[in-house]
């Protein structure tokens, strides 16, 4: 019994506990934010995190707030991401449809080289507006862990749907079309 309370075992136990606490903190701190999905599963919509980024073209900045009153399909992508190649033509087609109903697709090129991103846009002839987040600063606020990820934002600036992975036509029909029909 005396040996357990000796200084060395106590120091070892404290060191082990500190290490375990540090590991637990590290795991908890790296947990992606899933607040939007949790809100949606409980039947509510949480406001989209603020987002202000430079345009990929290099001319000025844009914010999500600028699109208030329109339905926004906010798509995080990168030119090196293979699934992004599959969904981009679909997003462009939907952007054309959405424009008529008061909506837009808004691309955010993330952790990418500007030249590669511009080549990608030319290759797929994408017409929707593009922002650039080279440092990936918005990943944390939107809980992004992979690419592509898409957030459907309603006219009041709230997240109405989330897709972690490439979108398809069924997703766009079920999540975006009803918001467009709701009108301003």
């Amino acid at each position: 019994m005396r040996r357990v309370f000796a200084p060395v075992p106590i120091a070892v136990i404290c060191a082990v506990l500190a290490l375990v606490a540090l590991l637990a903190y590290g795991l908890a701190a790296n947990e992606p934010d899933r607040g939007a999905e949790e809100a949606l599963s409980s039947g509510t919509r949480q406001p989209a995190p603020p987002l202000e980024l430079p345009r990929l073209s290099g001319n000025g900045t844009e914010s999500l707030e600028d699109y208030r009153g329109t339905v926004v399909v906010l798509n995080f992508w990168a030119s090196w991401c293979k699934p992004c190649r599959e969904e981009s033509p679909l997003l462009d087609r939907w952007h054309e449809r959405m424009k008529r109903g008061g909506g837009t697709v808004l691309g955010v090129d993330t952790l990418d080289l500007t030249t590669d991103a511009r080549d990608f846009i030319s290759e797929y002839e994408l017409s929707y507006p593009m922002l650039r987040d080279g440092e990936g600063e918005t990943r944390e606020s939107f809980g992004i862990v992979g690419f592509p990820e898409t957030f459907v934002i309603d006219r009041r600036g709230r997240i109405a749907a989330v897709r972690r992975g490439p979108v398809d036509d069924a997703f766009m029909r079920s999540q975006v079309a009803p918001l467009l029909r709701q009108g301003a």
């Binding site: 090196w80 991401c81 293979k82 990418d112 080279g134």
Partner: protein, 157 residues
């Protein structure tokens, strides 16, 4: 006429050697030299360790293009930081933020080494102090044994 021929030959020589001279002045670096000093931002590891990640492959291609353009290592790092931010720079002190972490990354290991050396020195001193009396005790016991042996030899039992 002869003078003109000499001048023409000199001009041709100059033209032929000019690219070689320019190449020698080009501050060449290598992909391997840079890979260890920059990060793959998506992987969260140094670029040299990110072997298969698509983003890392693009980053390597970008670096190779800049090397081919005769850009120096510092220029390439600056170009990468312009694309991905300072987080792409793996070495402490490369970023221009001058934060405390850049100092601590050198001070903490130095302190650790100093503490470890001090601990070892302390343990050695304590061990030698503990060993001294035991040796004296052991040597004292040896002397007694020798005296006993000598006495035993002197007496016929």
């Amino acid at each position: 006429m002869r003078r003109a021929a000499v001048l023409a030959a000199a001009a041709v020589t100059l033209l032929l050697t000019a690219p070689a001279t320019a190449a020698a002045q080009c501050p060449r670096t290598s992909l391997g030299d840079i890979e260890d000093e920059v990060m793959c931002p998506v992987c969260g590891t140094p670029l040299g360790l990110a072997t298969d990640a698509p983003q890392a492959e693009r980053e390597r291609a970008f670096i190779e293009r800049l090397i081919a353009d005769c850009r120096s290592k510092d220029e390439i790092k600056t170009a990468l930081a312009a694309q991905f931010g300072d987080a792409v720079l793996a070495l402490p002190g490369d970023a221009e933020d001058d934060d405390l972490g850049d100092v601590l990354v050198y001070v903490v290991p130095a302190l650790g080494i100093a503490l470890a050396a001090g601990g070892i020195a302390f343990a050695v001193v304590r061990w030698r102090r503990a060993r001294g009396p035991r040796e004296r005790q052991a040597s004292g016991a040896g002397e007694g044994q020798r005296r006993l042996d000598a006495d035993m030899e002197r007496y016929e039992l």
